[in-house]
């Protein structure tokens, strides 16, 4: 072992901040501030919007508002969004009934059967593309294939919303199914169960909470959609509890009333917006709670 004698280049002893170039420090500080600012730039408008909706929506929002019919003369002040509440619930509910079973079945095919086959890859690609389709184009699509033949109806709106929800449901469900440990599947398969039996008895129950929360997020997204409803559901001023026949929805009412110059109509728009936001947030929070419980398990 050679003992080295040559001492290395002498390092100046100070380790103080001053040694690091001031402009580098400054830029680092600046970047950090910019990141905080970016967060503020997104959080502030959000606070603004929520604040406004709550403030402007509050003074008309009440139980009456939810159960009274929409005044026929839109300049007339006073409550009334019942048909829209009914419509939103009905249309979104119907859309859910269409999209969730289809979407979950699609996801089961992709994850349990198709896996990496060409067809599965193709379907995955199509789902991705479909999720990028603008909602108004979905509305036009339903208009051309359904409304032109059968007329305006809540069901047409539900179809359009279902088309929007489908890719979301497929994707979240597939992701959840993938998380189900394959040991579970193998254990069941080792007992001689067929794939479909394994899926129904073992995989689905394990994935259920995740699938439910994914579906609820899709519902929340659909409940707030306006564009596809504009020319598929028509307009009514009394509640229509049937799927067929013209209907209306909260989002469509907000859109309509926002363009009217009467303060009374605008008030109704704000209150409807508050109703809609509450509905969407409730669904989102419910989905989060379910996910959280799922994650803990």
């Amino acid at each position: 072992m050679t003992t080295t004698t040559a001492p290395p280049a002498v390092a100046p002893p100070s380790l103080r901040t001053g040694n690091v170039s001031r402009s580098r420090k400054f830029r680092d500080r600046l970047a950090t501030i910019a990141m905080w600012a970016a967060f503020g730039a997104a959080a502030l408008p959000l606070a603004f919007i929520v604040f406004y909706v709550v403030r402007a929506g509050m003074h008309l929002f009440s139980y009456d508002f939810l159960v009274t019919n929409i005044p026929i003369i839109s300049s007339k002040p006073g409550p009334g969004m019942a048909p829209a509440v009914v419509g939103t619930l009905l249309i979104t509910g119907a859309a859910t009934l269409i999209a969730v079973p289809l979407g979950v079945m699609g996801a089961i095919y992709l994850n349990e059967y198709g896996k990496q086959s060409t067809l599965a890859k193709f379907i995955r690609l199509m789902t991705d593309v479909m999720s990028g389709v603008p909602s108004i184009v979905m509305g036009l699509f339903i208009y051309t294939i359904w409304v032109l033949r059968y007329g305006l109806s809540g069901f047409a709106g539900a179809l359009a919303l279902a088309c929007l929800m489908l890719p979301i449901v497929v994707r979240t469900s597939e992701e959840i199914l993938r998380l189900v440990p394959s040991a579970l599947r193998e254990a069941s398969a080792a007992l001689g169960a067929r794939t479909w039996r394994t899926t129904v008895r073992i995989v689905l129950p394990a994935a259920l909470p995740g699938i439910v929360s994914g579906a609820m997020l899709a519902v929340a997204r659909a409940a707030g959609e306006t564009a596809p409803l504009l020319f598929t559901i028509g307009i009514v001023s009394k509640p229509n509890t049937k799927l067929f026949g013209s209907n209306t929805a909260l989002s469509a009412q907000i859109f309509r009333n926002a363009q009217v110059p009467f303060p009374a109509a605008q008030d109704r728009a704000w209150a409807a917006a508050l109703t809609l936001i509450l509905l969407v947030f409730l669904l989102t929070i419910a989905a989060r709670l379910i996910t959280a419980r799922f994650a803990r398990k």
Binding site: V20, R24, K25, R27, D28, A31, T32, M35, A37, A38, F39, A41, A42, P45, L46, F48, I49, V50, Y52, V53, A56, L102, G106, I123, M126, T127, D128, V129, M130, G132, V133, P134, I136, V137, M138, L140, F141, T144, I145, C163, L166, G224, E225, T226, A227, L230, F231, S251, I254, F255, A258, Q259, A269, W270, A273, L276, I277, V280, F281, T284
Partner: protein, 286 residues
């Protein structure tokens, strides 16, 4: 599932009517339904302008937030930021539109004019930011869109940033780089593909967004450089005119939808391609 295919074919069925107006559909700026003139150029222009404004505003903010979450924020704040982003993503677009038309637009015109005065002496900028009478303008629409796509871009870039290996970041820090230098040198090069993909997905969303834009853009089909002027965009015009349109006018609107559909598909597919290519390049070498 393969509904998308059906979507394409049915929309194809609907467009022979719009073929009537021929190629001028996308090259003419004359949109006068009463005279049977349907040139969509002004709407295409409007869509491009507001989408560009939205992305330009949203991208730095989103990247900033994503970095804030992955590199700077303490753990507790981190969950809060994510919650805020979720909330922002959860607000229905019609509510953004309502806020835009009743609160933002009436108040922002003054700000626009103040800015116009400010940049008056600079020739190029004064063209871009000219005086205005109303807050319902390209820029307002872009602003609202930026708010709406920020959560999308943030979520994806955040996920991409989170995949940058600790080891690589340590490599830069161990050389004496500051955090910002480390981000520039390691995090950005590593995530560039994901960032491009996220931006393009945001762009696709911005192009297709209808209701909020329909409310705040001002519905004046024109091609002007002034971003503070009123304009119109493809989805907005469909939403605004479809109800009263008949015959060829209606077909023309469906034709607009087809054009929009094609554009968003191009944007989305190329976004995915970019992401995949960059992925392959990084992994192929690693």
């Amino acid at each position: 599932m393969v509904l998308v295919l059906i979507a394409v074919t049915t929309l194809n069925n609907a467009w022979p009517a719009f073929r009537e107006s021929g190629l001028s559909f996308v090259t003419s700026r004359q949109w006068i339904p009463n005279e049977g003139k349907f040139g969509a150029l002004a709407f295409i222009y409007g869509t491009a302008v507001i989408a560009a404004i939205a992305v330009l505003l949203a991208l730095p903010v989103s990247v900033g937030i994503a970095l804030f979450v992955t590199e700077v924020a303490p753990a507790r704040l981190r969950t809060m930021v994510v919650a805020v982003m979720d909330l922002l993503a959860g607000i229905p677009s019609v509510v953004f539109g309502l806020w835009g038309i009743l609160v933002l637009a009436p108040n922002i015109a003054a700000l626009y004019n103040w800015w116009s005065d400010l940049v008056e002496p600079i020739p190029l900028l004064t063209k871009l930011f000219d005086h205005t009478q109303t807050g319902r303008a390209f820029f307002t629409a872009g602003l609202i869109l930026a708010l709406m796509i920020t959560p999308i871009i943030t979520t994806i870039t955040r996920e991409v940033f989170a995949t940058v290996p600790r080891n690589d970041k340590d490599g830069a820090l161990a050389l004496g780089a500051t955090r910002w230098e480390m981000i520039k040198g390691v995090v950005f090069p590593h995530s560039i593909g994901g960032m491009v993909g996220a931006t393009m997905l945001g762009l696709g969303r911005a192009m297709g967004e209808t209701i909020a834009v329909a409310l705040v853009i001002g519905s004046t089909p024109q091609i002007v450089a002034n971003v503070f002027a009123g304009g119109d965009a493809m989805p907005a015009v469909i939403a605004n005119q479809f109800g009263e349109a008949t015959g060829v006018h209606r077909s023309a609107l469906i034709g607009l939808g087809v054009t929009l559909f094609a554009l968003t598909i191009i944007v989305n597919v190329s976004a995915r391609t970019v992401v995949r290519r960059v992925d392959v390049r990084l992994r192929g070498l690693a």
